[in-house]
Symmetry: C2
Subunit: 235 residues, 2 copies
DNA sequence: CGATGAATTGACATGACTCAACAACTGTGG
DNA sequence: CCACAGTTGTTGAGTCATGTCAATTCATCG
């Protein structure tokens, strides 16, 4: 069960967007210096801790966010009360894009690992996007990317046997392209991503450990045998 | 197995967009009459038959489409060769939106029922969207809607027992808001939507028939007991 | 330490898959 | 119109994967 912490109003203004190391990879790479001047006083940043809830499904919202570092889950609830994680949001991802076309957030956004966020008023983004075609294109690309990933979530994490889904998840969780290491989530979150019980998640991981597909370097930190995992997926 | 029919170049020009009965519900409701004049000679329409393939994943494309009537499936392939249907596209839906930000189609688009389409050159849409903020907003809304539906596909059609997923699919397939009737797809397509074998699909439907959840009016045409189906989902 | 919650493991039940037989429907040619 | 073949859908029996419930170990933190 996730603790729900009410957010203290701890957003900090005075961000220095022009020197942000993420500018090139984040949504606003197309902004001119002038654009930034007009906007950057509206931008605030914040650090959140695991368990914190950024917003809840149905909340009225006026901001979208970019993730500078960390990890969040987006959760939706089923008619029978169970929860399903429909997206993971990581460094350079955008969050709350639904604010550009609506008023209410679609998910619970819950922090899984210490997370640094930037927050943008939707009106400012909306205004700028109508002036700046590059930002506009970025927004569209962002939407399309999110959609493609949602479909990949369907094919990779919701299709096939428990073993295949788990192998796909492990491959998705690799932080660093070059490396082959990843941190795992709680068994409960894994279950809620892969549509399986925590026992099946645990058993599947144990089997992967036994057969050498993964090696536990530190607690919940694994080294993956990538090529063999890919073989499991393609089998 | 789906027959793959090469499309004859049968697109018809000379569409009459201004009087199109779908204008208000389709993507281009925000266009002025002047916009339409500049564009409507680029718009073509076509009718396709079940089994026809509109485009394939990886195809280079220059058009997006709106569906006037009918039904298509969007299919993706898994590393192990199995196929999964990730979206159904129906009347008033837009198809090939990925052309606005890329060059290649993301899916196989296969016709399930006789389908009438309109086809728009992506360059024309791109140009118009930069001049007309209403169209722009429509495009964004469309993306967001597609994304929301993809996530609903995850929660409703990829989560829970075979029975629940099937009940959700039936509720999704109702054509007409007021009515409680729906046409079913082939067992193979159902399996490829719900991640189950055709045998399980068939058995689940048989059980629904036996217990009165659905009644077969005509071949593959069913009357649904909506409230009981919803109870199955929420159980 | 001891207390708490998370993860693992075992035994068992059950849901879903596999393989196989058969039935229903479709289209073709005689 | 019928006979036939090919396809699609249904049903049954047995197996395997996953869920359920319970007991135990492990990790974390006061």
């Amino acid at each position: 069960m996730v603790k729900q912490v009410t957010l203290t109003q701890a957003w900090e203004g005075d961000t220095d967007c022009l020197v942000c190391s993420m500018r090139s990879s984040v949504l606003f790479s197309g902004l001119t210096e002038k654009d930034f001047e007009s906007m950057h006083e509206d931008i605030e940043q914040l650090t959140l801790q695991p368990g914190n809830v950024l917003y809840k499904a149905g909340d009225l919202g006026h901001h979208l966010f970019t993730v500078r570092s960390g990890l969040l889950k987006l959760v939706q609830y089923l008619p029978d009360g169970t929860q399903r994680i429909v997206r993971l949001v990581r460094s350079t991802d955008v969050l709350g894009l639904e604010m550009m076309t609506g008023e209410l957030y679609d998910h619970d956004a819950v922090v899984l690992r210490t997370t640094e966020l930037c927050r943008y008023p939707k009106d400012a983004v909306s205004r700028l996007s109508q002036q700046n075609p590059v930002l506009l294109k970025d927004l569209m690309t962002r939407w399309q990317k999110t959609l493609t990933e949602a479909e990949s979530w369907i094919t990779k994490l919701s299709t096939g046997s428990a073993k295949k889904r788990m192998a796909n998840l492990l491959l998705c969780l690799i932080e660093d392209e070059d490396s082959s290491e990843c941190f795992l989530l709680s068994r409960e979150d894994i279950g809620s991503i892969l549509n399986m019980t925590i026992e099946t998640a645990s058993r599947t991981l144990s089997e992967f450990k036994r057969t050498g597909l993964i090696k536990e370097i530190r607690h919940n930190h694994f080294q993956l045998d990538i090529s063999t995992l890919k073989a499991v997926v393609a089998d």
